[in-house]
């Protein structure tokens, strides 16, 4: 029984039958730093690192997936806890998951960017009263323009967003940037910052109650690790 009782750590000793928690890990920008944290917790991630086609690692309780799928799996209880970015959580704000801890790694910023020079977004607003904006984060972008009282037509794209303003598809983009390199290389400049994002630990609402001790232990250890800074 998975009762919240006296389990000292989230991680069972090696060779134990079943891990206390199933952990959703995003294969993406946060992948390697997330695995570093799990190593630090004593979870053996060597197989996860060496096999990039396999998705489910039952022995260590890890499931790997596309970053934007992490809240889906955690909400449904297919994973008890998950690592994901605040950008993903903001875009999927209706997901019923607990956000337990700001892990502080994987920093990046959601920005509004346009081509350099005179601001074409401001010009479009002045002349047409509406900006066309390309993004992979349609809900985040729509909410931002609504909050700031500007009319925007959101164009959802799946691939490289930077292409959209260069081809005249839109006047501006809303996208996530870590270093700004890709924006710069495409002649784009940041006009506004929407919010800063970092990695977060999330939990399934039922697992959060039924596996309380294991999850609290995980949160405490990750919080401690956050203070000292985990090195490879």
């Amino acid at each position: 029984m998975s009762e919240a009782k006296g389990q000292p750590g989230a991680v069972p000793p090696r060779g134990a039958k079943k891990p206390a928690l199933t952990i959703a890990v995003p294969r993406g920008a946060l992948f390697s730093e997330t695995l570093d944290r799990l190593d630090w917790l004593g979870i053996d991630t060597s197989e996860v690192r060496s096999n990039d086609r396999k998705l489910l690692f039952g022995d260590v309780g890890i499931v790997t997936m596309r970053p934007s799928d992490v809240p889906t799996y955690v909400e449904q209880g297919a994973a008890d806890v998950g690592f994901t970015g605040k950008d993903v959580l903001t875009e999927q704000s209706e997901r019923d998951v607990y956000e337990l801890l700001d892990l502080r790694y994987g920093p990046c910023t959601m920005v509004l960017a346009t081509v350099a020079g005179p601001d074409p977004a401001a010009e479009a607003l002045r002349r047409l009263g509406v900006i066309r904006v390309a993004t992979k984060y349609p809900k985040t972008a729509a909410a931002y323009f609504e909050r700031t009282g500007r009319q925007a037509e959101i164009v959802e794209v799946k691939g490289s967003v930077e292409l959209a303003p260069l081809t005249g598809l839109v006047e501006a983009i809303v996208d996530l940037t870590a270093t700004g390199t890709t924006l710069r290389e495409n002649g784009l400049v940041v006009r506004e910052e929407l919010f800063r994002s970092t990695a977060r630990l999330i939990a399934n609402p039922v697992a959060y109650k039924l596996k309380a001790a294991a999850i609290d232990a995980l949160v405490d250890r990750l919080r401690a690790g956050r203070e000292v800074g985990v090195a490879r």
Binding site: M1, S2, E3, A4, E75, Q76, G77, A78, E94, D96, V97, Y98, E99, L100, L101, D102, R200, N204, P205, V206, A207, Y208, K209, L210, A212, D216
Partner: protein, 322 residues
Amino acid sequence: MAILPIPSGTRDILPDEMRELSAIVGALKDVFADAGYGEIATPALEYEEVLARADIGARPAYRVVDDHGAVLVLRSDMTVPIARVVATRYATAEPPLRFGYVAPVYRTVRPHRGMSREFLQAGIELVGSPSPEGTAEALTVLCRALEATGLREFRIGLGDAALFPRLLSDAGVEGEPRRRVLRELQTGDFVGMERELGELHIADAHAELLLRVARLRGGPEVLEEMADQIGDAAHGLLRLYERLEAEVASRLVIDLGLARDLGYYTGAVFEVYDPGLGTPLGGGGRYDDLLGRFGRSLPAVGFALRIDDLHQALTARNGTGS
């Protein structure tokens, strides 16, 4: 073959599944009847302005205008219609009153989430029995009902809807910041709550207590631990524990951060969890102010279970052969 769709979030139930659902419903009805809860049915359609007296914040998802121009809504739960029944048809009856039901209710869905617009709920309402006796009775019936369906490993999270708002008042958090902090509690965003509380100019002790209470889960010992700091709520829940049989008490997990999304709860609140399902199977709590809005002021407590979720949890258990 033509495709004749039905609305997303609705479904047809075929004989194999219906047989299993009926068995669950039958087991629940027997427990409700044995405990003295009379079965009741109310119309699926009601006048919007009548149900709106409940003032629970959430507006009904489906409304139609009838041929006389009156606005009708599909009920979103059974608690509010039963409050209406008590105030109108039992206006002078001697409490306590006990009602049980099995009925479909209607809610909005968010797209692509596998949510239901129409789903079957089974539950009870105990009207006129105050805390803690009434709450203890409702929890006992809830445990018996779940056991009768064959569910083995379920747990009931128990909290107090009045606790967190009161701690916010003690800390002097009012108005817009209060609304924001309560929202973080309701959505389970502890990172956001820590940030919100950090931005308020309140004593560190208050902020620490709020964060601790929001996350506090465990057995009755956590109540004794917190008794000095949260006073009434801890004593109230401990008095409730004292009245429970051991097998009911052993099912409970204290969860002081528990916040149910229906707006009418005033005291003890609970939610049912099973390891076989990632979402709660149902829940309930005390709603001591609701009946008064319909014209007969009586304390009340009740719960509702989602039959489909119960079925899924039972199937998951059998599937793993445990």
